[in-house]
Every structure is written in structure tokens, then in C-alpha cells.
Symmetry: C2
Subunit: 149 residues, 2 copies
């Protein structure tokens, strides 16, 4: 997470992705938005992995700078921000889905066991599934609850 | 890259993946093996992103501990090691391909422009393509040269 468009270590397409979002905490923020519908700093802070306040703040700023998130004023409290995925951020959904598929295969204690239907759909056709999920997340839906059987 | 199977912050399938390989330098090592057929410490050290010696050594050790890479003795020089992907490591190829697809779309200077055929194949059917590429990489092939038109 050290580069910007103008200051990349290389334009190798693997490196570009990793400089933009290739940080554990950054991708966990995206997970929280996609699966749990989180939008606020305080909500991200409560995730079970225990992100620290300074790391969370720096990653949110960075994701906005990268054009992956956009920040808006909270309608109910103008001192607070809400975050949502841009189209560039929504297009990371297929990447996150491939990570889920890999973890479901190799983590014997994986919580992916709770969402077998999603895992199966990723395996069958990630591209088609992602198109559908992108539309739902763009509409503010939290998709996790629809996959917990 | 701070967890192990026994010491994970959560078994969320996104988090599991990120704790295992979710580090920029770790994924660049995998890229170098898959695309460029690199196998040795000295070869990884020369990549254009400029990894430092201590980060490279720590990431190689970590990827071996995670079961993503295996280390063997170099037949030509017993003091040196060669690294190759395990089946668990090879199964990260579809993840890396999705990152490439995303970067090809959003990085206007992307080197992905040099490999349009690969980008198109990822888009059409990542799963099928990955099955083929996994077999080729397992056989020690460096795939980049076959995609540079």
C-alpha cells in the first residue's frame, strides 16, 4: 500500500493490484462492506480480527485515494462519514470470491462451511455470480445473510 | 502474514487467505514462479519492485510454513535452495489471475497490455484456464513467454 498511480514500483498487473488493495486490513474492510453492509468507521472497528484505530483510518484514506471507496457525509450525523464501494471497488468482488474458494479448500476450520451455496456458486461461475452480487452490493445489500442457510 | 493455522485472528475465509498469502511481497514471489519460472533466492531478489533481502527471506520462510511453497536442495549447489509451488500454492493461480484482470481494467499504464490473450482467457473462463496453467507450472514451465505476442 505504498504506491499511487504515479508512484508505482511497477505496472506489472499483479503488482498494481497489490499496491492498490494488497493489504490484509484493506481487503477486510471490503469484506465488511460486501458481506455485512458496513459503512462506518465505528462498524469496521468492531470486526473480530481486531484492527487498530490508526491502521483502520490509514486504510480507509488509502482506499479512497485509490478510487476503491468513496466517502460521503452521514445524513444522520454530519461529523461522521459513510463509505461505499466505487465501480472500481465493486470489481474486486471476483478477487475476494477466489480467495474464499481457496480458503474453503485449505482451511479445515473455515467459516466458509457456513456458506456452502456461495462457495459452490463461485466454483461454478465466479464471473456470472459476481455480476449479480456487484449489482446487489451497489444497491446497499449485505449479502452474507442471504447465504447463511 | 502474522497468523498460522493455530493462531488465526479468524477463520473467516477472506481472513484466512489474507493471513496465509495476503502480503504484497509474498504474492510477487508467486508471480515470479508462475510467470517467469524463478526458483532461487537470488532470482527473486532481482525483481523490478526491489524487495529487500530481509523481507524476501522472511516471506519465503513464511510461504514454506504455510504449505504454499516447498523448499528443496539445489542439485547444482547443495548450499542453495530451490523453491516450488505446492498444490496449495498452485491453487492460488486463479486468485492471481483475477488480480491481473482487475489491474488490466484500471491501470492505464498496465503491462497487461503486453499479454492481451491471457487477459481475454481469464475473462472468458478463469477456472478452465487455471486448470491448464496449474498443470504447466507444476511441470516447471514459465508461462509468461508463451503469452507475449
Amino acid at each position: 500500500m505504498s504506491g499511487t498511480q504515479e508512484n508505482l514500483r511497477s505496472h506489472c498487473p499483479v503488482n498494481y493490484g497489490l499496491e492498490a488493495f494488497g493489504d490484509r486490513w484493506a481487503l477486510l474492510i471490503l469484506r465488511d462492506i460486501i458481506f455485512r453492509g458496513k459503512r462506518k468507521y465505528g462498524d469496521f472497528l468492531q470486526s473480530e480480527e481486531g484492527v487498530s484505530t490508526n491502521i483502520l483510518a490509514s486504510r480507509l484514506t488509502r482506499l479512497v485515494e485509490e478510487g476503491i471507496l468513496e466517502r460521503a457525509e452521514d445524513e444522520n450525523d454530519g461529523r461522521k462519514s459513510i463509505y461505499k464501494l466505487t465501480p472500481k471497488g465493486l470489481d474486486l468482488i471476483p478477487v475476494i470470491f477466489e480467495i474464499i474458494l481457496w480458503s474453503a479448500k485449505y482451511d479445515k476450520h473455515s467459516q466458509a462451511k457456513l456458506i456452502p451455496r456461495l462457495v459452490q456458486q463461485i466454483k461454478s461461475n465466479n464471473r456470472e455470480l459476481s455480476g449479480d452480487i456487484i449489482r446487489r452490493v451497489a444497491n446497499g445489500e449485505a449479502i452474507l445473510k442471504t447465504y447463511l442457510d
